[in-house]
C-alpha cells in the first residue's frame, strides 16, 4: 500500500521542492502532510496516519534533533521512521540524529535519482 509521508521543513518552498522530487523519483506514495517545525510535526503524527517522516534539522521552535528526542518518548508514534533531509552534513549531528532513531540522511541538494536510491527501499 502506498505510504503517507510527512515533510517537515520551515520553508514552504523547500517542502514543495521535496514533494516534487518525490514525484519525479517515481516513488509510490499516498498522502503528503506538511509541518513547518518539530512541534507541528508531532501534532500531525498524533492526528494523522503517517508512515514515514522526512525532516529538516535546522528549524525554529523545535529543531529536527529535539523532534526526534520528543518523538521517541511518545509510545504511539515512536516507531514511525524518520529520515533526515538537510544541508547539515557534519558527522556528529547526523550521528546524533541516527542515535535518536533517524533511519537515514539525505543531503540537500538532491536529484530525483538520489531520492529514489535512498528512499526507494523505504517506500
Amino acid at each position: 500500500m502506498a505510504k503517507n509521508v510527512l515533510l517537515v521543513d520551515d520553508s514552504s518552498t523547500m517542502r514543495k521542492i521535496i514533494s516534487r522530487s518525490l514525484r519525479q523519483a517515481g516513488l509510490e506514495f499516498g498522502d503528503i502532510f506538511e509541518a513547518s517545525d518539530g512541534a507541528e510535526a508531532l501534532d500531525v503524527l498524533e492526528k494523522e496516519s503517517v508512515d514515514i517522516v522526512l525532516s529538516d534539522i535546522n528549524m525554529p521552535n523545535m529543531n529536527g534533533i529535539e523532534f526526534l528526542r520528543e518523538k521517541a518518548s511518545r509510545d504511539a508514534i515512536k516507531d514511525i521512521p524518520v529520515f533526515m533531509i538537510s544541508t547539515e552534513t557534519g558527522d556528529d549531528i547526523i550521528g546524533e540524529a541516527k542515535s535518536l532513531g533517524a533511519v537515514g540522511a539525505l543531503k540537500k541538494p538532491f536529484t530525483p535519482d538520489k531520492v529514489n536510491e535512498v528512499l526507494g527501499p523505504l517506500m
Binding site: D10, S11, S12, T13, M14, K16, I17, R20, T87
Partner: protein, 603 residues
C-alpha cells in the same frame, strides 16, 4: 508567458492623453483660487478617473512604472477621501506634473520608447508625492504606535496583494529552479520580478527588503550574462531569501524599524553566490586600498539608514576612488577567470577576433558555457573559416579553434530531454491533466545552438499541447478517448534539416473559430495569405491578436514563433484535426556538421 496586447496601447494612451490634457487647466485654476469649491469637486473627481484609467492601462500592458505612479496617486487620494489628509496646493502641484508627464509622453509610452527614462521620471514623481504624506499621523490618531511601515487597512491593500502574488510567482519559479536555470530567458524573467519587487518595496518605504531584491536581481542578471554561481546549491540561498521576504510581508504590521530579519546576512549570502564582493576584487587588482573600501562600506551603511541604498561600486565611483572603466574591467576579468577561459587575439584580414583557445575542460563543455558566449564565438570562427576557399589553406590554429567550437556546440540532448520531461510532468500536474509524454530521436547528434535556440519554443509548444490541447479526464472519457493524453516530442534528421515536432492527441484546432477571431484582428490580405499557405487557417494562430484559447484550445503563446523560426530560414508546419489532435513541426535548416555562416543573427 505574458503577451501584452500592444495593439490596444496607443488607443488607451490616447484616452489618457486627452483626459490629462483636459484636466490640467482645471487644476491650474484651482491652484490659483483654492476657494473655488465647485472646482475642487470636479478636479478630485476627474483626477480619480484619470488615475483609475492609468491604473487599468498600466496593469493591462504591464507598464510597471505607470503602475507605481498610479498607485501612489491612488494612495494619496484615498487618504483625502477618508479625511486623513486635506488636499493642498502641493498635491495639486503634483497632479499638474502628472498631467504634464502623461501629455508629453503618451506617445513614447505607447511606442515603448524611453522606458528607462520614463521610469525614472514616474518613480521620482511617485516618491516625492508619497513623501508629502505624513506617515505617522493617521496611526497615532488611531492609537497605534510605530513609524514608517504601512497602513495595511487602507490604500495599501493593493500593494500587499501585489507583493504576495509576486512572491508566489517567485516561489513557483524557484521550485522549478533546476529547470529554469537552463533557460536563461526565464531566469531573466525571474530577475525582472525581483526588480519589480525592489521598486515596490522601495516605493513603500522598505529599504532593506528593496535592497535584498535589488541584490538578487543583479545576481540573477549576472548569471544570465554567463557568470557562474559559487557552490553547488545556489537555490538554497534564493529560497531562504524568499522565505525571509515572505515572513517580512506576513508581519507587515509590525514591520517597522527592522523590516527584514537578518537582512545583512541574507545580503551577504546572495552576494556570496557570485564569488567575491566587488570591494575585495578591486583591492586584489591593486586599484583600490582596503581603507577606501571600508570607507565606502561605512558610507553605504549610513545611506541605507537614510533610505538611500546604493551599490558599493556606484559609491566608489562617486567618491572618485575608482573609475567606471576600471570597475567594469575588474568585473569583466572576474568573468573571464571564472570561466577559466583565456582569450587570444587573432589578426585576420583587418578583422580582430577574440576567441577561446585553451583551457576548456571536457566537463566545461557540459552545458556550462552559456550560449551568449558560445553562439557569437561559433559565428566568428565560422566567418573566419569561410574566408579560406579550401580547408588546407586555413592555419592550424584556426582549425583547432573550429574543432573546439564544434565541441562546444555539441548538444547534451540527454540533459535537455530530461528537463523537458520534468517540465511536461510539472505542467501536467499544474493543469490537472493526465498525460503520457514520450521523446523520440533524442539520440540524434544535434547542434547545441539549434537546440538552445528552439528550447523556449519547444517549451511553449509543449505547454500549449498540455494546457490547451489535451482535454480533461472527464472530457476524454466522454469522447471515448483513452483517459491518458498522449504528448510526443520527436527529433528527426530530414535532409540536413532538423525537424522537431510536438504532437498531441487532444482536441485539435477549431479552425472555423480561429478564422472568426482572425477576421476581427487582421486585415483581409494577411488572412488570405495564411489561407493560401501550406498550413491554411491553422497558420493564423501565429498572428498577433488571434487569441484562440477560448475558441479552440490554443493560447497565444505562439505569437512570434513563426517569425523567430522563419528568421533563421526555417518553417513551422501545423497539422490539426478537430477532436483528434495537433502536430506542430519546426523545420530548422541546419544540422550538425554543417556550419552556418550567419548563426550570429539567429540569436
Amino acid at each position: 508567458m505574458v503577451i501584452r496586447n500592444r495593439a490596444a496601447l496607443p488607443l488607451n494612451m490616447q484616452g489618457i492623453h486627452s483626459q490629462a490634457y483636459q484636466l490640467e487647466p482645471f487644476v491650474l485654476a484651482l491652484k490659483e483660487d483654492p476657494e473655488r469649491h465647485e472646482l475642487e469637486e470636479k478636479v478630485v473627481q476627474d483626477c480619480r478617473y484619470l488615475i483609475s484609467t492609468l491604473h487599468a492601462v498600466a496593469r493591462e500592458h504591464g507598464l510597471v512604472y505607470l503602475l507605481y505612479m498610479a498607485d501612489s496617486f491612488e494612495y494619496v487620494f484615498n487618504l483625502v477621501d477618508t479625511g486623513k489628509i486635506i488636499l493642498n496646493l502641493v498635491h495639486l502641484g503634483f497632479v499638474v506634473e502628472l498631467c504634464h508627464v502623461l501629455v508629453a509622453n503618451s506617445k513614447s509610452i505607447a511606442d515603448f520608447e524611453n522606458d528607462a527614462q520614463l521610469e525614472k521620471v514616474c518613480k521620482k514623481l511617485a516618491f516625492e508625492l508619497l513623501r508629502t504624506v505624513p506617515r505617522e499621523d493617521s496611526r497615532e490618531k488611531d492609537g497605534q504606535k510605530g513609524q514608517g511601515g504601512l497602513d495595511v487597512s487602507g490604500g495599501n491593500a493593493s500593494f500587499l496583494s501585489e507583493i504576495t502574488a509576486m512572491l508566489d510567482t517567485v516561489e513557483q519559479e524557484l521550485v522549478l529552479w533546476d529547470y529554469i536555470a537552463l533557460d536563461l530567458s526565464r531566469v531573466d524573467i525571474l530577475a525582472g520580478l525581483f526588480g519589480r519587487l525592489d521598486s515596490h518595496f522601495s516605493l513603500y518605504g522598505f529599504p532593506e527588503a528593496a535592497r535584498i531584491c535589488q541584490c538578487v536581481e543583479a545576481t540573477l542578471k549576472r548569471f544570465t550574462q554567463g557568470e557562474h554561481f559559487y557552490g553547488e546549491y545556489p537555490e538554497r540561498v534564493l529560497i531562504r531569501t524568499l522565505d525571509a521576504l515572505r515572513t517580512g510581508v506576513d508581519q507587515l504590521t509590525v514591520w517597522e524599524h527592522n523590516d527584514i530579519q537578518d537582512a545583512e546576512k541574507h545580503l551577504q549570502a546572495i552576494q556570496g553566490l557570485m564569488h567575491k564582493p566587488i570591494g575585495e576584487l578591486l583591492v586584489q587588482a591593486g586599484l583600490v586600498a582596503q581603507e577606501s573600501v571600508d570607507e565606502a562600506l561605512e558610507l553605504q551603511k549610513q545611506e541605507i539608514l537614510q533610505d538611500r541604498p546604493r551599490r558599493l561600486g556606484e559609491l566608489l565611483i562617486d567618491m572618485g576612488i575608482v573609475s567606471e572603466d576600471e570597475l567594469n574591467h575588474v568585473l569583466g576579468k572576474q568573468l573571464e577567470i571564472k570561466n577559466q577561459l583565456s582569450f587570444i587575439e587573432t589578426e585576420s584580414d583587418g578583422k580582430r577576433l577574440s576567441a577561446l583557445s585553451v583551457g576548456i575542460q571536457e566537463e566545461d563543455l557540459q552545458l556550462q558555457i552559456p550560449s551568449t558566449v558560445a553562439t557569437p564565438l561559433f559565428s566568428l570562427t565560422t566567418q573566419l573559416w569561410n574566408h579560406y576557399s579550401t580547408d588546407s589553406q586555413a592555419p592550424d590554429a584556426l582549425l583547432q579553434l573550429k574543432q573546439l567550437c564544434e565541441k562546444l556546440c555539441k548538444a547534451q540532448p540527454d540533459q535537455i530531454v530530461q528537463r523537458l520531461k520534468q517540465a511536461a510532468h510539472d505542467l501536467a500536474v499544474l493543469h490537472g491533466k493526465r498525460i503520457h509524454f514520450v521523446v523520440r530521436g533524442a539520440d540524434l547528434d544535434m547542434d547545441r545552438m539549434v537546440l538552445y535556440h528552439s528550447f523556449p519554443l519547444i517549451c511553449e509548444l509543449l505547454a500549449n499541447s498540455i494546457e490547451h490541447g489535451i482535454e480533461s479526464e472527464k472530457e476524454r472519457i466522454s469522447q471515448g478517448k483513452d483517459i491518458t493524453g498522449q504528448v510526443a516530442l520527436s527529433f528527426l534528421n530530414q535532409a540536413n534539416e532538423l525537424w522537431i515536432s510536438v504532437e498531441d492527441d487532444g482536441s485539435g484546432l477549431l479552425l472555423d473559430a480561429i478564422q472568426d477571431v482572425a477576421r476581427k484582428h487582421l486585415d483581409r490580405k494577411s488572412i488570405d495569405g495564411c489561407l493560401a499557405s501550406g498550413n491554411g487557417a491553422a497558420d493564423l494562430i501565429f498572428y498577433q491578436g488571434v487569441t484562440t484559447a477560448s475558441a479552440s484550445g490554443r493560447g497565444n503563446g505562439l505569437l512570434g514563433a513563426r517569425d523567430s523560426v522563419e528568421k533563421i530560414g526555417g518553417h513551422i508546419k501545423v497539422l490539426s484535426r478537430q477532436g483528434k489532435g495537433t502536430k506542430i513541426t519546426l523545420q530548422l535548416p541546419f544540422y550538425r556538421g554543417k556550419m552556418q555562416p550567419d548563426v550570429k543573427n539567429h540569436s
